[in-house]
Every structure is written in structure tokens, then in C-alpha cells.
């Protein structure tokens, strides 16, 4: 069936397109304007905005850690509010099903779960398979596991074996890429460390955090995995940590790197309160390291729960609100779940909010500064439209800014920034750039051949309203949302890489798990039957 989206303003920054025109869909793909054929279905979208379906590069939507968060805080959806208004109706709103529905209503068609635990990949994939409509992919966590650390033990770098181990892990967990969370820090926590810096050594193993990240960058580059290592660096959330972020950006210039939720590293320690915006300095470093991409991890005021494999950081930040927390000391990274309420009246929270926006607005190259809230850590994903509004409307920003504590306003540079993101720039940070960074070349744009994931919005001044409910959303060519409501619950696919490895690694890993865990690695190997849909998985090719 040939479908025509007729006469909309088509915004496709991957092809420098921002003009009124038509978009054609057929057999799940975008196609050229056909000659001499009438479309079977025409949607008149004149006056509307037409974009590719949005892609979320970093959102915790599935897996052991997220479900541990659900177990700790089933009341989260009922406590979450925007401007004091509750925004989610029930505990089920945090379940898999509601996640896919709400994402689709906002025009999102692909979401990346950034923290699969290798030994728990089956749960992550089962959860992802129960999320309707959207396509998904998972990033698998390495860097605090004893197998990796043993390979990187001082003076014992067997780079080929690490490469094989990374490839095996990606294959075994059906992951799209690699996540590294506070490299070495979680292992150090197991030896009772309470802080861990870039050049500190992991007890017993001797390797530094810097050494782990560099080795992972090398392995991913050698394997030709399209998505660079997705790194959560040390010292998250600590005043003065902009030094760590800048040092990490300087240390990692040899190969591409993606730094996650960079807002949480944008902190200086100037001023009376020892906490200040490090955004200008951070952005200078990001603007300089052209091989680095980041996502922002914007904070919004309201109740949330922080979920992180950075167990050391979560432990030191365990002063929770409400007062309950989980520290899960597990194989590899472990997890910390700490409820948190970002308060507009808090000096620090207000500044965090402003720092995130500063990062977006000081980015010279929006292709390298991607949108995220690190859902649910900075804010729930249902808050995205409000953030788009803040980025695109200076007056809206000032309206919020004026209500912040005076102390925060005085030390923030946000009010002095008059930039407003254009629709094209928004399409870059929410579509084109995530697709590019992830190596998902068939999406994030509207050229013929691309997957027919398309979102249509009513252009209006109130961007919160505009992006809360898409007029139309097509997923793989199928109309799934009309007037902000899901009209057809379809099921998406899961993308992963399979770079290949020397089969000897399988025996080594099996012997390691049998000896130390009494476990058989086949137990946590993800096979296509993890979902009951036969075409669930698709492989993204690697360069080598």
C-alpha cells in the first residue's frame, strides 16, 4: 500500500531538508515520489510538521535494575507530577506496556536501554519484548566484571582476548553496544572504596579507570562496532567533577566515545556553596574533542527514582526521598536505587536544571550533544515535551528561571543565553544524531529506503502541547497513533551486533563461570526464542 503524507513541512536535517513537500511510505519504507501512480491512502498534513520517528539514545526502560526500582517504588507514577499536577494514572504506567504506548504517543519509535547486565540479559530482552510499538536495543555493561579486570590486570593486557570477550558478550546478550559504568569503581566498592577517580587503581587488579575505558575503546574500534563505548564516567554528581569529565574527554581522543548524561558531570565548586555551573568549561572540552558525543541527562523538578549501575555513587548518595533505598551488590557492577525529588526551591537542583539547559544551548554541534533525561534518573521520559519547550522558547525558559532561588540564578549563566533551538536542531538531537551515533542508518531521517517511522505534529507556540501528542505516528509504515492516541498496538524489533570472535573464548568463559559462580553461561545466552515473535531480532553489521 502506497501512503502519501501530503503537503506538510518536512524537517529532515540529515538531508538539509526543511521545506513543504510530500513523504511517501510503502512496504514499511520511505519511498521516492512514484511516477504515474496514485497513492492508496492520502493524509493531508498541510500546516503540520513531519519528522522521522524520534530515537532515544539512553533511557532505562527494561531489565533487572529498572524492575528493582519498580519493586522499591510502585508509587512512583502516582507521585510524579509536573507543575504540581500528577501526570501518570497508576502503578501500571511504569510497566512495559504503558512505556511503549506513551513513547509512541509522543512520536518516539526507537528507544535504547543503556544498561543490560550480561548475566541478566534474558530478563532485559523479555521486558523489552513486552514493550509495544517501539523498536529497541540494549547496551551491555562490562568494565567492573572480574573477567575483564583479570585480563587487564597490570602487565597482563591480552588485548585480543579482551576483544574476543567483548565480542562474545555482545553476541551472547544480543546487545547493540557496550556500556561502561564508573569503570573499576564498582569493583573498588567491593573492597570498600567510597570514592574512585580516573587514575585510581582497582584493588587486587591494579588497572586504572582510564586504562579500562581506553582498552574498551580499542576493543570496540577493532571490532568495528558502530556505536562507540557508552561511558558513565567517575565522580557522577559531585561538586567539582567537571575536572573528571574534562580529563576523560582529553584522555579518550584516540577513538570515538559516547559520554552518557553529561549534565551530571557539569559541576564546578565555585561560590559560597561550593557548587557551581561547569557547563561552559565542559562544553569547551566537548566542542574540542570531535570524536566525542554526549547525551545530556536533563533534570526536571519533581519526584523520580534514580537507578544506576554506579553502585558506589548510589551508596554515597543514599539519603533518599522518600527515605528508602536499595544497594544491590551483584556480579559486575551491581545497582543502587535511590528515590529522589528534584526541588525547584533547592539551590543545587535548580542549578542542575539550568546546567542541563546550558549544555544543550552552548553546543556548537548539535550532532554531538544528544537529547536525554537519563530516564528516570533526571526526569521521567513523559517530561520530554516540556524540555523541548524550554529549549525552543526563551521566554518559557525565563518564566521557569525567574522562579528559581536567587542564589541559583545569581551563579547561572542561563538567563544570558538567548538561543532557541529550531525544529531542525530538535530533529537532530532527537532523531538524526542518535541514529548516526548508534549506527542505525535506516532511521532518524526521511530519505527513500529509510524505515517508515514518521511523526506528524501540529506546529504551535506551546511546544509542550505540540510534542506531548503527535497527530500521526507511523511505525514501519503502519499508522499506530492518531490525534495523540494509539490506534494500533503493533510490535517492534530489537537490534544488535554480532562482531564475531575466536571460539576459544567460549571455553574460557565457561570455565570461569563454572569455577567462580557455579553457573553455566548458556543460562544467560539470549536466543531468538526469548520472544515469541519470529522476526524479533535484526543484526546491525560491524565494520571489520
Amino acid at each position: 500500500m502506497l501512503t502519501q503524507l501530503k503537503g506538510g513541512r518536512v524537517i529532515d536535517p540529515a538531508h538539509n531538508r526543511d521545506a513543504v513537500g510530500d513523504v511517501y511510505l510503502e512496504n514499511g519504507r520511505i519511498v521516492d515520489a512514484p511516477e504515474g501512480r496514485e497513492p492508496d491512502e492520502v493524509h493531508n498534513v498541510s500546516g503540520k510538521i513531519v519528522m522521522a520517528g524520534a530515537i532515544d539514545v539512553h533511557s532505562h526502560i527494561a531489565g533487572t535494575n529498572v524492575t528493582l526500582g519498580r519493586q522499591l517504588m510502585p508509587e512512583l507514577p502516582l507521585m510524579a507530577s509536573a507543575e504540581g499536577q500528577p501526570i501518570l494514572p497508576s502503578s501500571a504506567a511504569w510497566g512495559s506496556y504503558a512505556t511503549g504506548i506513551r513513547y509512541a504517543e509522543m512520536g518516539y519509535t526507537t528507544v535504547i536501554e543503556p544498561a543490560m547486565i550480561p548475566t541478566h540479559a534474558i530478563q532485559a530482552h523479555k521486558e523489552m519484548a513486552s514493550i509495544p510499538i517501539i523498536d529497541v536495543a540494549g547496551l551491555v555493561i562490562l568494565g567492573n566484571d572480574d573477567y575483564t579486570l583479570n585480563l587487564l590486570r597490570t602487565g597482563n593486557v591480552k588485548s585480543d582476548e579482551l576483544k574476543d570477550y567483548v565480542a562474545w558478550t555482545l553476541m551472547h546478550s544480543k546487545a547493540l553496544g557496550l556500556k561502561v559504568i564508573n569503570a573499576g569503581g564498582s569493583e573498588a566498592f567491593k573492597f570498600n572504596a567510597r570514592t574512585f577517580d580516573l587514575d585510581e587503581q582497582v584493588p587486587e587488579y591494579g588497572v586504572t579507570s582510564r586504562g579500562i575505558v581506553e582498552a574498551m575503546q580499542q576493543a570496540i574500534a577493532d571490532l568495528g562496532v558502530p556505536h562507540p563505548p557508552h561511558v558513565h564516567t567517575n565522580n557522577l554528581g559531585i561538586a567539582g567533577n567537571v575536572d573528571t569529565a574534562v580529563a576523560t574527554l582529553e584522555a579518550t581522543q584516540a577513538h570515538p566515545i559516547h559520554l552518557a548524561h553529561i549534565q551530571f558531570y557539569g559541576y564546578g565548586k565555585e561560590g559560597d556553596k561550593g557548587f557551581s555551573s561547569g557547563a561552559p568549561r565542559l562544553m569547551e572540552a566537548i566542542n574540542k574533542n570531535k570524536k566525542a558525543t554526549v547525551d545530556v541527562g536533563q533534570v526536571m523538578f519533581g519526584q523520580t527514582v534514580t537507578i544506576s549501575g554506579d553502585v558506589l555513587r548510589q551508596f554515597t548518595a543514599r539519603a533518599a526521598n522518600p527515605k528508602k533505598w536499595v544497594i544491590n551488590q551483584a556480579d559486575g557492577n551491581g545497582t543502587g536505587i535511590v528515590p529522589y525529588n528534584y526541588k525547584k526551591k533547592s539551590f543545587v537542583n535548580a542549578l542542575q536544571w539550568a546546567i542541563g539547559l546550558e549544555i544543550f544551548l552552548l553546543a556548537e554541534d548539535p550532532w554531538r550533544v544528544l537529547f536525554s533525561t537519563d530516564h528516570p534518573n533526571g526526569a521521567l521520559f513523559v517530561r520530554y515535551p516540556e524540555i523541548f519547550h524550554l529549549l525552543m522558547d526563551k521566554n518559557e525558559r525565563l518564566r521557569w528561571f525567574d522562579r528559581l532561588p536567587e542564589a541559583s540564578r545569581q551563579v547561572s549563566g542561563l538567563a544570558g543565553i538567548s538561543r532557541e533551538l529550531t525544529l531542525s536542531e530538535l530533529a537532530i538531537i532527537t532523531r538524526a544524531a542518535p541514529a548516526k551515533v548508534l549506527g542505525l542508518t535506516d532511521r532518524g531521517h526521511l530519505a527513500p529506503g529509510a524505515i517508515a517511522d514518521v511523526a506528524v505534529y501540529t506546529d504551535q507556540k506551546n511546544k509542550t502541547k505540540m510534542f506531548s501528542a503527535a497527530d500521526l505516528v507511523f511505525k514501519s509504515g503502519k499508522l499506530v497513533v492518531r490525534n495523540g492516541n494509539v490506534v494500533d498496538v503493533s510490535w517492534g524489533r530489537c537490534y544488535h551486533v554480532d562482531p564475531g570472535f575466536d571460539r576459544q573464548i567460549e571455553n574460557r568463559v565457561r570455565s570461569f563461570y563454572e569455577t567462580y559462580y557455579g553457573a553455566d553461561p548458556s543460562w544467560f545466552g539470549v536466543t531468538p526464542t526469548v520472544s515469541d515473535r519470529p522476526d524479533r531480532f535484526a543484526t546491525i553489521p560491524c565494520a571489520s
Binding site: S91, A330, W523
Partner: protein, 357 residues
């Protein structure tokens, strides 16, 4: 088979408030049961949910401090075993927790076992073991140990026992990684709180954690599946506009006794574990029984023979060694027997067809 499933669909389509109990099944079976319960406005519960419910309540009130099985066996220097159930449930438990070969662990203490409130049992040879027992009840022993850890006074008449508790408190403060092992089905909620608070006191300076024994019958797997599906654990009702969890109200036995539930779907289909049916099950209530074993059901009940997960078909279930859901290959695959998921999904389709007609 088709006529059996049609009878099951007819029976359930009429139900006002069905309860899905037992749920000794794999994760796919749990997902199918949740989907059908949602469709029918029923309840999901698990036959071993008592302990899980206690743990869930404590979790919701104050959180938790779990350690994975792998971390405990590789890195704990002091393991405190509470109650009889852990060793009764797994006679090899201590051998697994004190392996000959382990990963690098913190501190240089020799590894040590403390047994609290348990009958004399087998302990690994050569392992230094302290038994804290006697006539004192388990809650009091744990409370006293909690006080000793915090260097607070406690009252134990037996002077020798009091001395042991005192020195154990000291050892735990000096441990590099102390882990408390228990079965939440055996110990009461206040004791769970006491243990958690002891851990939270210890972690101010050192490392400590809990290892809660997994519920039988893939209880954790089913509970996790319920949580990611609808945001809530088992003992959840889908009768209202939004799902509602209530550990007391939505317990199978109570719903049957009180007559609130008017239909029962009983699922018992795991290799190596039997879900004991509720006392008055299959009597005076319409039942659909999915079982991999012979069943004594009532005349009007619908009984569907299904494969046993892990034996007859590959199955995703909770596996303690990896502290999570893994997939186990069938020992002697028998494709002639349907899975719980197959059967429940088909019943769901038949109910849809009936409603559409």
C-alpha cells in the same frame, strides 16, 4: 484438547472474579497468566508468595540490601545463616557458599560461619563456625545480635550465649563483607527489618548485605514478570480500572475461603517442584487446572495436561546462581505436551472469539 480448552474458555468467560493461583510455571507461563488475568479482571498470586510478600512489604517501606549469590560465595568473609530453612531447602548450600576457589575478596579475615536460631546441622569441615541458639526464640536472638552489632545493651539470661552474641557482633563490625542469609518465608517481618537495619549500620564503615533465599516454584521469576508487566508484584488484582496490589486481600486461599473469587485457575507445571493446592481448592468452585502431574480435581473441573517447564521444554526461570532469570534447556524435550503459555494464550483467543460473537 480443543474441546477441553473450549470448556475452559466457557468456564472462565463467565467468571466474575477469577484467581490465578499456584503459578508454578516459567516466565512465559507467568506472562500468559498475567495477560489472561488482565483480560478477565482477575487476580494473580503464587503458591509461595507468603515469603515474597513479606520481603516486598519491607522493600516498599524501607528498601533492601541484597547481594548476589556469586558475590557472597566469592567475597563474603562472614556469613550469618539465620533459621533452619536455608539448609533444609538446599542441603548443599554451605558447600556452595564456601567454595574452595574464589575471586579476590576484601580484607584478610579467615572465612567464618555464624548460625543463628537453627538446629544443629552439617557444616563444612574446617570452617570456623559459631552457633547462636539455645532455648531463646529466633526473633530475640536476631534482635540481640542486632544490638551487639550496634554496641547497644541486650538481655540474654544465658551468660555463655550472651558472650557469644557479643563477640559475634564484634566480628561482624570487623568483617570486610558480612552477609546475612535467610528465607523470608521462615522469618517474620520484624526480624527482616532488624536484619536490614543491622546491615545498614555495618555499611557505614564496612561492607554488608543480605542473601534472601529465592522462593520455590520460580516464585521470583513470576514475581519479576508481574512487576515489569504491570508495575506490581503478585497478589495483584486487575478487577478495577487500574491494577491493585494487596498482600492480604489478594491471597488465593483467602479469596477462595471468603467466596470472593468465583473461579480458580491453578497452575502447577514445573519440573522438580509441586505447588500444594489450596485446602478447599477444586471443591465448590469452578476450576481450570493446568498441571504436568496427575491431578485430583472435581468432576466439573477442566484439567489440562501440560509439559513440565525445564523437563519437557526449554524454560526461562529464576536461577539462584546468577541471581536472575536464565534459560535452561529441556532435559528430555517432549513437544507433544503444550506449555502453560500455549494453553493460556489459546484460552485467551477462544474467549476473545466468544466475546466477539
Amino acid at each position: 484438547m480443543d474441546s477441553t480448552l473450549q470448556r475452559a474458555a466457557d468456564l472462565l468467560a463467565q467468571a466474575r472474579f477469577p484467581v490465578f493461583g499456584g503459578l508454578f510455571t516459567d516466565v512465559n507461563g507467568a506472562a500468559a497468566a498475567l495477560a489472561l488475568a488482565q483480560k478477565l479482571g482477575g487476580v494473580v498470586d503464587h503458591a509461595a508468595s507468603e515469603g515474597m510478600s513479606r520481603a516486598a512489604r519491607v522493600m516498599r517501606e524501607t528498601g533492601s540490601t541484597p547481594a548476589s549469590f556469586g558475590e557472597v560465595r566469592n567475597r563474603a568473609d562472614t556469613i550469618v545463616l539465620i533459621g533452619d530453612s536455608p539448609r533444609a531447602r538446599d542441603p548443599e548450600l554451605l558447600e556452595k557458599l564456601f567454595p574452595a576457589k574464589a575471586l579476590p575478596r576484601p580484607g584478610d579475615n579467615a572465612r567464618e560461619l555464624v548460625v543463628v536460631g537453627a538446629k544443629k546441622g552439617k557444616t563444612p569441615a574446617g570452617l570456623r563456625t559459631t552457633e547462636i541458639d539455645g532455648k531463646t526464640a529466633l526473633p530475640e536472638l536476631v534482635a540481640s545480635l542486632g544490638a551487639a552489632i550496634r554496641e547497644l545493651p541486650f538481655e540474654i539470661r544465658d551468660a555463655a550465649l550472651a558472650k557469644k552474641i557479643l563477640s559475634t557482633g564484634k566480628r561482624l563490625r570487623e568483617s570486610a563483607f558480612a552477609v546475612f542469609v535467610y528465607d523470608p518465608a521462615e522469618i517474620e517481618e520484624p526480624v527482616l527489618h532488624t536484619v536490614l537495619e543491622a546491615v545498614r549500620h555495618l555499611v557505614k564503615t564496612t561492607r554488608a548485605a543480605t542473601l534472601s533465599l529465592a522462593a520455590p516454584g520460580n516464585g521470583e521469576g513470576v514475581n519479576l514478570c508481574s512487576t515489569w508487566t504491570c508495575g506490581l508484584p503478585v497478589r495483584t488484582s486487575f478487577a478495577g480500572e487500574t491494577p491493585e496490589n494487596n498482600m492480604w486481600a489478594f491471597e488465593t486461599e483467602r479469596l477462595l475461603k471468603s467466596g470472593e473469587a468465583d473461579a480458580l485457575v491453578w497452575i502447577d507445571a514445573l519440573d522438580g517442584a509441586d505447588a500444594a493446592p489450596p485446602t478447599r481448592a477444586f471443591r465448590g468452585i469452578s476450576s481450570v487446572v493446568l498441571s504436568s502431574k496427575p491431578v485430583k480435581a472435581g468432576r466439573d473441573d477442566v484439567v489440562v495436561e501440560v509439559g513440565a517447564a525445564v523437563a519437557d521444554h526449554d524454560a526461562a526461570v529464576y536461577l539462584p546462581p546468577i541471581a536472575g532469570i536464565g534459560e535452561v534447556k529441556a532435559t528430555s524435550a517432549d513437544a507433544s505436551k503444550p506449555t502453560v503459555a500455549d494453553v493460556l494464550n489459546k484460552i485467551g483467543t477462544l474467549i476473545d472469539a466468544k466475546r466477539a460473537a
